[in-house]
């Protein structure tokens, strides 16, 4: 931001060059440089000028162990970035149940939300509730959001929410390893998988979804041979990393993968399994199994092309199911990326739209009541109606068609405890190396092992230096 401003300044100067002013400009510049030179060492000496502020140890770190909901009029502020319609409906239903508690939502577009949430939660007038996002683990470490573990036990959340979706909200590093903490509660769940066009698949001689990865490879080859594009991938943005993560899910033990995402000491992505997965992705690209313009296609565009028959298979998440079901009806199907053996453990990538409580809130109990409400049958119906997978699937009737296929796949994943984080949850700056790295893999511009090295380097920066600084 600062550079933009100074660049503008240069531009203004450039637009009307006053050559006569060169000489006179030089003196203030020198003066400023001198000022800077004086400021810099004194800052290190006294620390008052050091940017940022230390964590405030006076604030509570956990919620109280009580499910009592206070009386009297209470207003809770909620900041969020996903599914405004769902949030509005949830808030209205919650208000009906607790008329004295009003939740005021404030919506920010996702990309901006992720960038600003750290500052928002650190400010003195932070909102009471905030949607959980990448980087929240750092916020938890700083003590800006409350540890919800006492509520989990008091409200009995372990029975209301799938274990995997709670496990994803337990912080990172040492905090996660202890397993005792909880920093968010899920409303709607998300999950990735493979969509396929049943009509086109039949033309290529494919009768049913693949049961093993090898069978899937055979199907991709068959589609290629039939002269169609096998797999649509929107690798211009996040489609590529979804494909990579799906392949990793089938070849890396979930426990090792989760340790890596959570920053457990000694965890690594450089394993034989992930190398094989990465090589598979590169090989698929070489064989022409991926859409040849994958690197120039955004996720939404790859989805659009799939609805028009532009590819037989498509990598995407359950968030696309509504659109695909509407556009293609019974033609569209869904399956999870198959494992090495038939009936292998169902593992896929996913996360939740979930919410955390600020440690600056004056109403932790009212906020706790809102989070508990997310596990209620009313909330489940709202979540499901808005295209997310509900935490408690038995509370809603099984939908038909494509949505039903997605829901059934999700039940398998829940039953197998197979929900892995998206890989970018490893570190706030992991998204770009993943996106750029998969693009290079697709274009054959990086070797699989160099790609994994680059990811591990980002991991190390996040989980060794920071962790040391925090605890030291």
């Amino acid at each position: 931001m600062e550079t933009n401003r100074s660049a503008n300044r240069n531009r203004d100067r450039g637009a009307e060059p006053r050559r006569s002013s060169y000489r006179s400009v030089r003196r203030p510049v020198l003066a400023m440089a001198a000022l800077l030179a004086v400021l810099a060492p004194s800052a290190t000496a006294c620390g008052a000028l050091t940017p940022g502020s230390a964590a405030d140890s006076g604030r509570p770190r956990t919620v109280p162990r009580s499910t009592a909901v206070p009386a009297g009029d209470i207003t809770l502020k909620l900041t969020f970035a996903d599914a405004p319609a769902m949030v509005d409906a949830l808030i209205a239903a919650f208000h009906k149940k607790h008329p004295n508690i009003t939740v005021e939502p404030s919506y920010t577009q996702f990309a901006d939300y992720v960038k600003s949430v750290k500052l928002t939660m650190a400010s003195d007038n932070a909102p009471d509730l905030a949607q959980f996002a990448v980087g929240m683990d750092d916020i938890a470490a700083r003590g800006d959001i409350l540890d919800l573990a006492p509520y989990r036990d008091a409200y009995g959340w372990r029975a209301k929410f799938p274990a995997a979706s709670l496990d994803q909200l337990t912080g990172s590093g040492r905090r996660a390893a202890s397993g005792g903490h909880l920093y968010g509660v899920p409303a709607g769940l998300s999950m990735t998988g493979v969509y396929y066009n049943k009509e086109l698949a039949k033309k290529a001689g494919i009768a049913h979804p693949p049961r093993t990865l090898r069978e899937f490879e055979g199907q991709l080859a068959a589609v290629k041979k039939a002269g169609m594009t096998p797999l649509g991938v929107g690798a211009l943005d996040s489609g590529g990393l979804h494909l990579w993560a799906e392949l990793v899910n089938t070849m890396m033990p979930p426990k090792d993968y989760r340790d890596w995402v959570k920053g457990a000491p000694g965890a690594t992505i450089k394993t034989a399994g992930t190398l094989a997965a990465t090589k598979t992705l590169a090989a698929w690209s070489r064989e022409g199994y991926l859409d040849e313009s994958a690197n120039g296609t955004a996720q939404v565009d790859s989805t659009g092309q799939f609805t028009r028959g532009g590819s037989v298979f498509l990598i995407n998440g359950n968030w696309a199911a509504g659109q695909l079901s509407e556009a293609m009806g019974k033609k569209a199907g869904f399956f999870l990326m198959p494992g090495a053996r038939p009936h292998a453990r169902a593992v896929t990538s996913g996360f939740s739209v979930s919410y955390a409580i600020s440690s600056r809130t004056r109403h932790p109990q009212a906020a706790g009541a809102f989070l508990d409400f997310l596990g209620s049958p009313e909330a489940t119906r709202i979540v499901s109606a808005n295209g997310f997978l509900p935490p408690d699937e038995k509370a809603v009737p099984m939908p038909g068609g494509l949505l039903g296929e997605v829901a059934r796949a999700h039940r398998r994943v829940t039953a197998d405890d197979g929900m892995n984080h998206f890989p970018d949850f490893t570190a706030p700056n992991m998204l770009d190396p993943l996106r750029a790295g998969v693009q290079k893999l697709i274009a054959g511009r990086v070797t699989p092992s160099a790609y994994l090295d680059a990811l591990q380097k980002v991991w190390a920066r996040q989980h060794t230096t920071r962790e040391r600084a925090r605890t030291g």
Partner: protein, 314 residues
């Protein structure tokens, strides 16, 4: 511009006392503007220079690291590569638009020069100006989205290539490792050509008609006239155009952010994008500031060189 240099009062012409007081009073007049400039331009710039000496995530307490961030700017191949990309973009953002602007100016001015000696406007000049200036008026984000669609797999450019029987050339331009930077550069050239043309057109109108008359009497044709009269007289405008477009290329962010996000790989990653990403996604405000400072210095040097070169030799 030249007059400013000439009319500047020579030093030492008045008595020292009066001169001192006059100078003091002069600063008083400048004070309001200076205060705003200091507060909103100089101080923030200095503040980021100061932040560049810290390892700071934007929230928690930063720690002093001295010049480590600068060392990383020069050592990290990804950061160096982004500067290189920006320098390549200068070709597209500065040289192409200036050539295009000159060509358009030549075409719009030349045919009318004969009658009274002065460059006359071609009929429909207003419409041309509006048309070529339009890219400047449209928000850059809208420009980026439109071009992303044009470059798309089944976008207009590929459709046209297919229609011409050049289907072998069609590709996802923004996702192609060899072509993405060129594709982004062309967007910039398209945006900035109109601006250059406007600058040159306004410059041409200030040229003394007698120069054209003299050239004509010496038997110069339209091309000779353009090269010998119009072009040298546009020296100042050329300097301005080169400065503005070079800064746009080096400090650019929006077009890249909207079209490619820096991809594929790091092929179109520019420093502006990295500054944003480092500061707001990666929580490395110090490194982002250091990169910003280096970028600003690079721009200052280039702008200085441009202005130096464009000064008329006497």
């Amino acid at each position: 511009m030249n007059t400013q240099v000439r009319t500047r009062p020579g030093p030492g012409t008045r008595r020292a006392g009066r001169r001192g007081r006059a100078a003091w009073r002069g600063y008083l007049y400048v004070l309001p503007a200076l205060a705003v400039y200091l507060l909103f331009a100089v101080l923030p710039a200095l503040h980021s220079a100061y932040l560049s000496l810290f390892d700071w995530d934007g929230v928690t307490l930063g720690s002093w690291t001295g010049l480590d961030n600068y060392r990383e700017v020069f050592a990290d191949p990804a950061l160096r590569g982004s500067v290189l990309n920006a320098l390549i973009l200068v070709v597209f953002f500065a040289f192409l638009p200036i050539l295009a602007g000159l060509a358009m100016t030549g075409l719009l001015i030349l045919p009318g020069t004969s009658a009274a000696g002065a460059p006359r406007r071609r009929p429909g000049m207003g419409a041309f100006r509006l048309l070529f200036m339009l890219p400047q008026v449209v928000p850059l984000v809208a420009v980026g989205v439109t071009w992303r669609w044009l470059y798309g797999d089944d976008g207009l450019i590929n459709e046209t290539l297919d229609g011409l029987g050049l289907g072998g050339w069609s590709r996802a331009w923004l996702g192609d490792f060899d072509w993405a930077l060129v594709a982004v550069g062309i967007v910039g050239a398209w945006v900035l050509s109109g601006l250059c043309m406007m600058l040159f057109l306004s410059g041409v109108q200030k040229i003394d008609p007698q120069l054209y008359e003299a050239a004509r009497l010496d038997g110069a044709g339209p091309v000779r006239e353009f090269v010998s009269v119009t072009l040298p007289q546009l020296r100042g405008e050329l300097a301005v155009a080169l400065t503005v477009t070079t800064v746009a290329a080096l400090a650019g962010f929006d077009i890249v952010y909207v079209t490619t996000g820096g991809g594929p790989g790091e092929e179109t990653t520019v420093p502006g994008l990295l500054v944003y990403r480092l500061a707001f996604s990666d929580g490395r405000v110090g490194l982002a500031s250091a990169l910003g400072v280096v970028l600003s210095l690079l721009i200052l040097v280039l702008v200085y060189v441009i202005n130096r070169l464009s000064r008329p030799q006497t």
